[in-house]
């Protein structure tokens, strides 16, 4: 039987404000333990929390960017439970009147087809402290307690681990454009839990779900889900039943392990926090924040396609990171002429591979953009080969020398001089009788081989177009 995978993701996002959600303690990572606390975030009796204006602003931005409806009346509730990382014995969160609901974001599948993923709700809450478990005790650091968090809950609209990965990438890309969070899973500023179940293809009812925790990268989320699809498929095929449970991803072993926690539904006894007044978020306030939103990745993608005649896949690559998009657009604008295809090919080809091999992002390349454009000009005028140009690009990034200097230093000017090339071609034809015969018998690959040989003999300096013409003329 075939099964359909059903996944929903729950993302917790730390907002990048200067101070905590309900008190003025500065948020500063890497600070000594318990050096960023005060009576409010330590939960002392008699203290009064007051919410951070900037955090509310950021949260509304996020809600709008994900196309959510903003709740006009929204309030904070107390979620009650005992755990040592929670000094008040309740977390300030939102229950029945969350900041926003009914949003969505668009992901693209391998064939670049869009898919709409629903967002159930985005609500405000606060982070808990950090626990370090030792042999016979647990140590608590309350620096993180009270950092403003957003919880972003997706609908169970994701149908494969890859879609979950694409959802997270798209989410992160939008959040980076908004500049409201560091979105770093390894540092814990973005955390993701996943709910996954399988059901027979076409079934209406959902299967028994598993909640996955402890993933600390997008790849980890994808790997954990992939493992879980396999595990649940095997259980279903063996006709086994199982209970809803929480499983932890073990990245070393590449498996999920049952948490075996005490059963019984959680009883959080939510109730409105009497210490915090309601928020009334009216239309003028929303309009003002909406007007201040930056251009988001998908708008930018459409604009790149429209203004620079980019293909959708190319535009998508260039807009996925805000800084890369800025870098790319700067290059495109500097590039002369209306046809931008050339500079775009350089950006998503040689430049991106330079960045990848240096483990940098595109915008982090130490490169004079005007020199890049000069370099492309040399190729356009067929004064150097594309191959040489790629070598020069590498050297340019290493040395910051000009294209002209590097071409001279490397003696890389392309040979288009027929007389000079004829000698090399004659030698290659002499030495490769079989390929010559193959070409005459109609094998086009043989021609490419012969051109390659000439390129090799000329240390990459022969003009391949001229060489191809000359060989053809000789052999046809």
């Amino acid at each position: 039987m075939n099964y359909q995978t059903v996944i929903g993701l729950e993302v917790h996002l730390q907002l990048k404000t200067k101070t905590k959600a309900f008190c003025g303690c500065a948020i500063d990572f890497g600070k000594a333990p318990n050096s960023g606390t005060c009576p409010v975030c330590l939960g002392f009796p008699g203290t009064l929390p007051v919410y951070n204006k900037e955090a509310l602003n950021s949260a509304i931005k996020v809600a709008l960017a994900f196309n959510c409806q903003i709740q006009e009346h929204t309030k904070f509730d107390r979620k009650n439970y005992f755990y040592p990382d929670l000094p008040k014995n309740y977390q300030i969160s939102q229950f029945d009147l969350p900041l926003s609901r009914n949003g969505h974001l668009i992901i693209f599948d391998q064939e670049h087809q869009p898919k709409r993923i629903g967002i159930t709700r985005i609500h405000l809450e606060e982070d808990a402290g950090k626990l370090i478990h030792e042999a016979d005790s647990s140590l608590v650091d309350f620096n993180r307690t009270g950092i403003p968090l957003l919880e972003i809950v997706s609908e169970p609209d994701l149908n494969s681990p890859q879609e979950a990965f694409d959802y997270l990438s798209s989410l992160k890309s939008i959040l980076e454009y908004l500049d409201v969070s560091d979105c770093d899973m390894e540092k814990g500023s973005l955390r993701c839990d996943a709910n996954i179940s399988l059901r027979p293809q076409g079934a209406k009812e959902l299967g028994v779900k598993t909640e996955l925790k402890n993933m600390n990268s997008f790849k980890g989320v994808k790997d954990a889900l992939t493992f879980e699809v396999k595990r649940q498929t095997e259980l279903l095929q063996a006709g086994q039943n199982w209970q809803q449970e929480t499983r932890l991803w073990d990245v070393q072993k590449g498996i999920t392990v049952s948490m075996r926690s005490k059963e019984g539904a959680k009883d959080y006894r939510y109730f409105p926090d009497p210490d915090l007044a309601v928020f009334i978020i009216n239309t003028p306030m929303i309009s003002k924040i909406k007007a201040g939103l930056p251009e988001l990745p998908q708008e930018k993608m459409r604009r790149f396609m429209r203004d620079y005649s980019l293909s959708e896949p190319d535009a998508k690559i260039l807009v996925s990171s805000k800084n890369d998009a800025r870098f790319a657009e700067d290059c495109i604008n500097r590039y002369p002429g209306k046809d931008k295809k050339n500079i775009v090919n350089w950006l998503i080809g040689p430049l991106l591979s330079e960045a990848n091999s240096r483990k940098l992002e595109l915008h982090e390349l130490d490169l004079d953009k005007n020199e890049l454009i000069n370099l492309i000009g040399f190729v356009q005028r067929q004064e150097i080969s594309l191959l040489s140009a790629k070598t020069i690009l590498t050297r340019m990034i290493d040395s910051r020398k000009s294209a002209q200097t590097l071409i001279t230093e490397g003696n890389l000017l392309q040979i288009s001089d027929t007389a000079q090339l004829e000698q090399v071609i004659a030698a290659v034809i002499r030495e490769n009788e079989k390929s010559v015969a193959d070409f005459k018998a109609g094998k086009t690959n043989a021609l490419m081989f012969l051109v390659g040989q000439v390129m090799k003999k000329s240390a990459g300096k022969a003009n391949p177009k001229v060489v191809t013409d000359l060989i053809k003329r000789r052999l046809v």
């Binding site: 200067k18 951070n52 309030k75 040592p84 009147l97 478990h133 042999a135 140590l139 650091d141």
Partner: protein, 95 residues
């Protein structure tokens, strides 16, 4: 609405309160009465009353995102029942 002893036990556990059998009996009775008083509200006509989540007619109380001076770790840890270095120390707990 009535309340049975099991429910009272559950609530006591959630609040981390240990009750003796006698106390359980007494509290069950008292809670039963309290819930009875609250039930009276159900008989009132509240169609024209807006739902209230806060008793004061105030809203949008916010503060600027400006840092204050936090406590020194020494001060923060002053009342800790147990500490280890700069950390609060608690019995080992892993959920």
């Amino acid at each position: 609405m009535s309340i049975d002893q099991e429910t009272v036990k559950h609530i006591a556990h959630l609040s981390r309160i240990e009750l003796q059998p006698k106390e359980l009996e007494k509290l069950s009775g008292q809670l039963h009465d309290i819930l009875g008083f609250i039930d009276k509200i159900s008989s009132l006509d509240i169609d024209k009353v807006e739902p209230t989540s806060h008793i004061l007619p105030i809203s949008n109380v916010l503060r600027e995102d400006t840092p204050h001076v936090s406590l020194s770790p020494e001060k923060a840890l002053e009342n800790a029942p147990s500490r280890k270095g700069e950390f609060f120390s608690v019995p080992k707990i892993i959920e």
